[in-house]
C-alpha cells in the first residue's frame, strides 16, 4: 500500500537549544494504525504537532496525504483530523453544537452537516446526550465526542494524541472498539501516540518506540516481541545468600539475567530448553527455590529492553494524569 505519511530526518529544536525530536524517519501506509509509543517527554506529541502543522519543522521533511507539511500546510489541514490530548470540546455548548461548529469550520454545511453529525454521534453512542451541554458529560463521553469531532470532514488521516488518557479500563476498551471500527469499516489511517502498552499491542498494526526524541525500535508488535522479547523465567529463592547472576548467565541458552535481591529474572528464547539446567544448577548451589514463574513476551519487556526502564515507572510519574484531571474539572 502507498505511504500516506512520510517523515524523513524530522527534527524539532525549541528555542534553538531543546531538541525534542532528533532526526527521525518513518512512514505510515494507507489504512494502517500506526502507534508512537514512549514515555512522557519522548517526543511523541512534538512529532504529531509537526505533522499536523502546529509546530514548525527545524530540519528534515514530512508529507501527509501527499502534501508537504512545511510548504502546503493548508492542504495538510484539509486532509487530516486531529484529536488532541486535551479535552477541547466547548463545555458551554452541547455535543451537537460543538459538532456543528466544527463542521462549519471544515466547510461542511446544511443538511450534509446535520446528517453527518447525527451519524457520528450515533457511532459513538452519544445520540441521547447530543443536546446536553458538554460540561455534563463524563470523561469518557468527552473523549468519544472529541474522537468524532475530528471526522466530520472525512479526513484521510486521523491523528490521535493519547486517545484514552485518564479513562477507566472499560471506557478505554470501548474507545479501542470505536477506533478499530473506523479503521476497518472506513479504511481510515490512524496515527496515534500512547504510553499504554496494552493499547499499542491491541490497536496498532505497527509501532515505533520513541525515547529522548529518537526512534529506538519499530515494527509490528509481533516482530518487536520476537526481536526484543523472549521468554522470561522469574526465579525467587528462599534466601538471598549468594549472588547467582554469573552462574545463571553461563547456562546455555540464557540471554540475560537481572537480579533484585533474591529474585532473578532470566531471559531466554525458549524456556523449555534451559529450564532443567537452571533448576539443577540452583539445587547444586544448595539454594532453595521458593517460587518459579514463567511468562511469554510482552511489549513491556520490549520497552524495558529498548528504553532501559519500565513503562510502569513512567506511568506512575503521573504528570499527564494530573494535567488531565485539571482539564476535566475545568469550567469555561
Amino acid at each position: 500500500m502507498a505511504d500516506i505519511i512520510h517523515a524523513d530526518d524530522l527534527t524539532k529544536v525549541y528555542r534553538g537549544k531543546v531538541k525534542a525530536v532528533d532526526h527521525i524517519s518513518f512512514h505510515v501506509a494507507e489504512g494502517e494504525i500506526f502507534g508512537f509509543l514512549g514515555p512522557n517527554g519522548a517526543g511523541k506529541t512534538t512529532t504529531i504537532k509537526m505533522l499536523n502543522t502546529l509546530a514548525s519543522i527545524t530540519e528534515g521533511r514530512a508529507t501527509v496525504a501527499g502534501h508537504d507539511v512545511a510548504k502546503d500546510p493548508g492542504a495538510v489541514r484539509k486532509s487530516i483530523g486531529v484529536v488532541p490530548q486535551e479535552l477541547t470540546a466547548d463545555d458551554e455548548l452541547s455535543g451537537t453544537e460543538n459538532m456543528m461548529l466544527m463542521a462549519r469550520l471544515h466547510q461542511v454545511k446544511g443538511a450534509t452537516a446535520r446528517s453527518k453529525v447525527e451519524t457520528l454521534l450515533r457511532l459513538v453512542d452519544l445520540e441521547d446526550a447530543a443536546g446536553r451541554k458538554v460540561k455534563t458529560y463524563s470523561g469518557g463521553m468527552r473523549r468519544r465526542l472529541q474522537l468524532v469531532m475530528g471526522l466530520l470532514h472525512e479526513p484521510n488521516v486521523l491523528f490521535l494524541d493519547e486517545p484514552t488518557l485518564g479513562l477507566d479500563v472499560q471506557t478505554r476498551s470501548k474507545m479501542w472498539h470505536y477506533i478499530k471500527g473506523l479503521n476497518k469499516e472506513r479504511g481510515l489511517t490512524v496515527f496515534m501516540t500512547t504510553h499504554y502498552l496494552d493499547e499499542a499491542d491491541s490497536l496498532c498494526d505497527r509501532i515505533a518506540i520513541m525515547d529522548h526524541g529518537t526512534i529506538k525500535a519499530s515494527g509490528t508488535p509481533a516482530q518487536l516481541k520476537e526481536a526484543h522479547g523472549g521468554d522470561i523465567i522469574t526465579l525467587t529463592l528462599a534466601q538471598d545468600k549468594e549472588n547467582l547472576t554469573g552462574f545463571l548467565s553461563g547456562i546455555e541458552g540464557v540471554q540475560g539475567v537481572t537480579r533484585d535481591g533474591k529474585v532473578y529474572r532470566i531471559r531466554l528464547p525458549k524456556m523449555e530448553k534451559a529450564l532443567p539446567a537452571i533448576v539443577a544448577g540452583v539445587v547444586q548451589k544448595e539454594a532453595e527455590i521458593e517460587e518459579i514463574t514463567f511468562s511469554k513476551p510482552t511489549l513491556d519487556q520490549v520497552f524495558l529492553d529498548v528504553v532501559g526502564r519500565s513503562m510502569r515507572d513512567e506511568e506512575t510519574s503521573g504528570s499527564d494524569s494530573a494535567w488531565e484531571n485539571i482539564k476535566m474539572e475545568r469550567t469555561r
Partner: protein, 277 residues
C-alpha cells in the same frame, strides 16, 4: 474567511448570552462610577453656598456646558468601560489557548485572520452592548444624564460612532495581545499596567484644560480624549454648530486613523502569535 469569522464569533456570543450574569460586573462598575463617583467627585460640591450663579456658570463652561457633572461624566465612564472590558475580554482567548481549543482551530482549515477577527468582533459586540446599557443607566439614575431637548436618534448614533471607533481600535490591539500572551497572569499584568494610565491621562473624568501642561499634552492625543470630546459635543449640545461639527469631524477622523493603525498592528501581531511553534 467571513463564514469562519461568523461561526467563531457566534460561538463566543452564544456562550455569553447563555450566561447573562457575566455582564453584571461591568454594569455594576458603570453604575458605581456614575452614581457614586459622579456624586462624590462632583465639582459643584466644592462651590460654597452663596457663591452665586457666576461660580456655577464658570463650572458649567469648564465642563463644556454640561448641566450636571454626570452628564459630563457619562461618556467618560463609557470610554473607561470600553477600555477595561476590551482589555480583560481577552481572558477567554487565553483560556482557549491554555485549554487546547485554539490548537483545534489551528489544525483545522480555518484562516488565521478569521481566528483574530472573531476575537475582535466578539469583544466589540459584548462591550458595545454594555456601553448602551451604561448610557441607559446614566439616564435613569437621579440627577443623572440630562440630554438637550434637540438630542435625536441620529445624535445617539453619532455618539456611538465615536465609541465604536475607539472600541474597534482597542479590540484590535487587546485581542492581538491576548493571542500573544500564554497565561492569564501575564495578560492581567500587562493590562493593569496599560489601563490606568490610559484612563487617567484622558479627559474621562475632568477636562484636560485643568491638567498640568505635560499631562494635557499627552491627554490631548489620547484616543479616549478624542472619543469623549466627540461624544460629549452631541450629548451636551444635541444639534452642533458648524465649528462644533468640525471638531466632531476631526475627532472621528482621528479615531478612524487610530483604529486603522491598530488594526494593522494587531493583524501582524496576531499572525505572529498564531504561527506554528
Amino acid at each position: 474567511m467571513l463564514d469562519e469569522t461568523a461561526a467563531l464569533t457566534f460561538r463566543a456570543l452564544r456562550k455569553w448570552v447563555r450566561n447573562p450574569a457575566s455582564i453584571m460586573p461591568g454594569l455594576f462598575t458603570a453604575m458605581f462610577y456614575l452614581a457614586l463617583f459622579g456624586s462624590s467627585f462632583n465639582p459643584a460640591n466644592l462651590i460654597p453656598p452663596g457663591a452665586g450663579s457666576q461660580a456655577s456658570s464658570i463650572l458649567q463652561a469648564t465642563f463644556g456646558g454640561a448641566p450636571t457633572y454626570i452628564t459630563y461624566l457619562t461618556s467618560g465612564v463609557i470610554c473607561i468601560i470600553l477600555v477595561f472590558n476590551m482589555a480583560f475580554g481577552g481572558i477567554d482567548l487565553v483560556l482557549d489557548r491554555q485549554l487546547g481549543y485554539l490548537n483545534s482551530l489551528l489544525t483545522a482549515p480555518v484562516p488565521r485572520a478569521a481566528i483574530y477577527l472573531s476575537g475582535v468582533v466578539q469583544n466589540l459586540v459584548k462591550v458595545l452592548i454594555l456601553a448602551v446599557l451604561t448610557f441607559v443607566v446614566a439616564l435613569i439614575i437621579p440627577n443623572g444624564l440630562q440630554l438637550p431637548s434637540s438630542f435625536s436618534v441620529l445624535d445617539f448614533f453619532g455618539v456611538f460612532v465615536a465609541f465604536v471607533l475607539l472600541g474597534l481600535g482597542l479590540s484590535f490591539v487587546f485581542t492581538a495581545l491576548a493571542l500573544t500572551v500564554r497565561t492569564i497572569d501575564s495578560l492581567v499584568a500587562i493590562v493593569n499596567f496599560l489601563t490606568l494610565p490610559i484612563m487617567f491621562m484622558s479627559n474621562a473624568f475632568f477636562p484636560s484644560s485643568s491638567f498640568p501642561g505635560w499631562l494635557k499634552a499627552i491627554a490631548d492625543v489620547n484616543p479616549v480624549t478624542k472619543a469623549n470630546e466627540a461624544a460629549r459635543l452631541l450629548i451636551v449640545n444635541g444639534s452642533l454648530s458648524s465649528s462644533q461639527a468640525a471638531t466632531y469631524g476631526w475627532d472621528v477622523a482621528y479615531l478612524v486613523v487610530f483604529a486603522s493603525l491598530l488594526g494593522l498592528l494587531g493583524y501582524f501581531a496576531a499572525r505572529r502569535a498564531l504561527r506554528p511553534e
